[in-house]
């Protein structure tokens, strides 16, 4: 059926060796990141047997899970053309809210819900500043970053506290060996479905791809952005609670810009364009996993953190070049 509208007009291509080498990478962005992860894993395994033990796999999963959860939200925001720099501070604040509400006599599960609602409220404010007051999200969420950091340090007096919770709650909310990664994989499924198979997902891409066009088509671009800001904060808060429960300590300095940048890096390595309009949730997970495997493998090999940063820097640059090439190729017609 599709053949009847096939035209002989061939779009112009991007020629040269570059295309031959890069095309498969670009077309199957996620799978190429997955291949790199497998190759790295194989390398570290041959270099050090300890890499492929259940203990170390658990370590990698714990490195990956919270960052990946943040990266899902950040990816949605980047796709619709915005960014959230404050999500790492929501990560730190949410478990404190959970603690305080719990100490005030509210049952723990309800405290979690209230902490998540508070996280969503932060996203709402970020969205309000960006969508209605027209402050660029980079600046609005930078302000929020400092504001929240101050709030968390104030209410905690700068000290970590023991995270409350009985055995069952603690196990489910992050402490059982693979609890966090199960959460991360569950949310991966949900968010992939949301992005690729719902109107909201399509409208998120449309908003980032052509803001004016989307709104002329009747897409409520402001609402789409608001929703994604709230989603990002929600995921940030949730990841923060999981980590606080896992390590049994609620730390005012947890998360922060490091967690936020790690999530953005994961999204970018996974193929999300910072300019908006494209990206995938699976890519975000794989990008995050790649960084975790690198970090873990280097630690096992005793490579210094300084070297790790250099390698990570190169990885980010390569990923960005691939992203830019990808969009050029798209406009050019091939791939």
């Amino acid at each position: 059926m599709a053949r009847s509208i096939v035209t002989s007009e061939r779009p112009r291509g991007w020629s040269g060796i570059g295309r031959t080498v890069l095309a498969p990478f670009l077309r199957f962005r996620e799978s190429s990141v997955a291949v790199v992860v497998v190759l790295l894993g194989f390398y570290f395994w041959t270099a050090n047997n300890a890499f492929f033990t259940s203990d170390n796999i658990a370590t990698i999963s714990q490195l990956t899970a919270p960052t990946a959860i943040i990266a899902y939200g950040e990816t949605m925001l980047l796709i619709c053309g915005e960014i959230d720099l404050s999500v790492g501070q929501v990560f730190a604040l949410a478990p404190f809210i959970m603690d305080f509400v719990n100490q005030a006599g509210v049952p723990l599960p309800a405290s979690v819900v209230l902490a998540l609602i508070a996280s969503i409220a932060v996203g709402f404010l970020n969205g309000l500043f960006t969508v209605f007051l027209r402050v660029p999200s980079f600046v609005a969420t930078l302000g929020m970053l400092f504001l929240l950091n101050g709030v968390t340090l104030t209410i905690s007096h700068g000290f970590p506290v023991h995270t409350p919770g009985g055995a069952f709650f603690t196990a489910v909310m992050g402490q059982a060996g693979f609890a966090e990664i199960v959460w991360a994989l569950g949310l991966l499924g949900v968010m992939h479905l949301v992005l690729a198979h719902t109107r909201f997902g399509l409208h998120t891409i449309a908003t980032g791809g052509n803001l004016v066009g989307a709104s002329e088509a009747g897409v409520r671009v402001g609402a789409v952005k608001m929703a994604n800001f709230m989603l990002t904060s929600l995921f940030g808060g949730f990841a923060g609670i999981l980590e606080a429960v896992r390590i049994r300590s609620t730390d005012p300095l947890a998360g922060g810009t490091e967690a936020m940048f790690a999530a953005v890096v994961g999204a970018v390595i996974g193929g999300t364009a910072l300019a908006g309009g494209s990206g995938t949730i699976i890519g975000a997970m794989l990008g995050t996993l790649l960084v975790s495997v690198l970090k873990d493998g280097f630690t096992l090999l005793g490579v210094s953190a300084f070297t790790f940063d250099m390698i990570l820097g190169v990885a980010i640059l390569v990923a960005m070049v691939l992203n830019v090439r990808l969009s050029t190729l798209r406009r050019g017609g091939q791939v």
């Binding site: 779009p11 052509n210 004016v212």
Partner: protein, 257 residues
């Protein structure tokens, strides 16, 4: 030609100001059922603004709009669409990152039940059927719009509007930046739609020969008001050119305004 209750669209004294700029200074016009109205005028005359008001994207500062003789306030693009008004914007409003069928169904996606998940299969089938019927040729409905040529994009934008069985179609410069071959393709699409007779159209264009070819009537917009309203067969390319150019001449001679 006077306005009647049977007009698809009628406006009275539409004024639109953007801060200090008055884009429309009292536009009274009408579009009969099944008619193709050519809207011409210099850049900045207010043509796009008028279209954006008629499709609910902008709210008029003053004035009234009647659909089928009944006064309406078009609250949003979605609202206007629900009343049968579809628009092809000057900037096309397509999303380059989305595929052809995703663009065609943007903001009127088909979803399944019980979960509101997108029904990609059905949307593809319907998009293919619609494009085939209109004679639009593209590689596939799965192609990203970024890979299409200008004419193909324009065709998709028009197909998207026609798909919903619009009663009123607003086309803002559908022939702009189009080669002769692609332009002819779009003109053909407009003519086919006109032959079917169930849609009224407003077509904005700068090529007066093309305007006179497809339109029943021509309105000239000048400084935000309708300066001329004539049946296409009673005017000519020369007259329309003269009307638009005389302003420049007046300005050049220092006698303007």
């Amino acid at each position: 030609m006077s306005a009647t209750a049977a007009d698809a669209i009628r406006t009275e004294d539409i004024v639109k100001r953007f801060g200090a700029v008055t884009a429309l200074a009292g536009v009274t016009m009408h579009l009969a059922k099944g008619e193709v109205l050519g809207l011409i005028g210099d850049n900045g005359a207010g043509k796009s603004t008028l279209v954006k008001i008629l499709c609910g994207f902008l709210q008029p500062t003053e004035g009234r709009i009647y659909l089928d003789g009944r006064e309406v306030r078009l609250r949003s693009v979605t609202h206007a669409r629900s009343l049968g008004i579809e628009t092809v914007y000057q900037d096309l409003a397509l999303i380059p990152e989305l595929t052809v069928y995703q663009n065609m169904f943007l903001n009127r996606e088909l979803t399944g039940r019980p979960l509101p998940l997108l029904n990609h299969r059905e949307m593809k089938l319907r998009a293919e059927a619609c494009l085939r019927e209109m004679g639009v040729r593209i590689p596939s409905v799965n192609t990203e719009v970024a890979k299409l040529s200008g004419g193909q994009r324009q065709s998709i934008a028009i197909a998207r509007s026609v798909y919903s069985q619009a009663k009123v179609l607003l086309l803002d410069e559908p022939l702009a930046a189009m080669g002769a071959k692609e332009g002819a393709l779009i003109l053909g699409l407009i003519r086919n739609l006109k032959a079917k007779g169930d849609v009224s159209m407003i077509v904005i264009a700068h090529n007066y020969a093309q305007v006179l070819e497809v339109c029943d009537r021509v309105n000239l917009l000048e400084h935000g008001t309708v300066a001329l309203d004539k049946p296409a067969r009673e005017t000519s390319v020369e007259e329309l050119t003269e009307l638009v150019v005389r302003e420049y001449r007046a300005a050049a001679q220092g006698g303007h305004r």
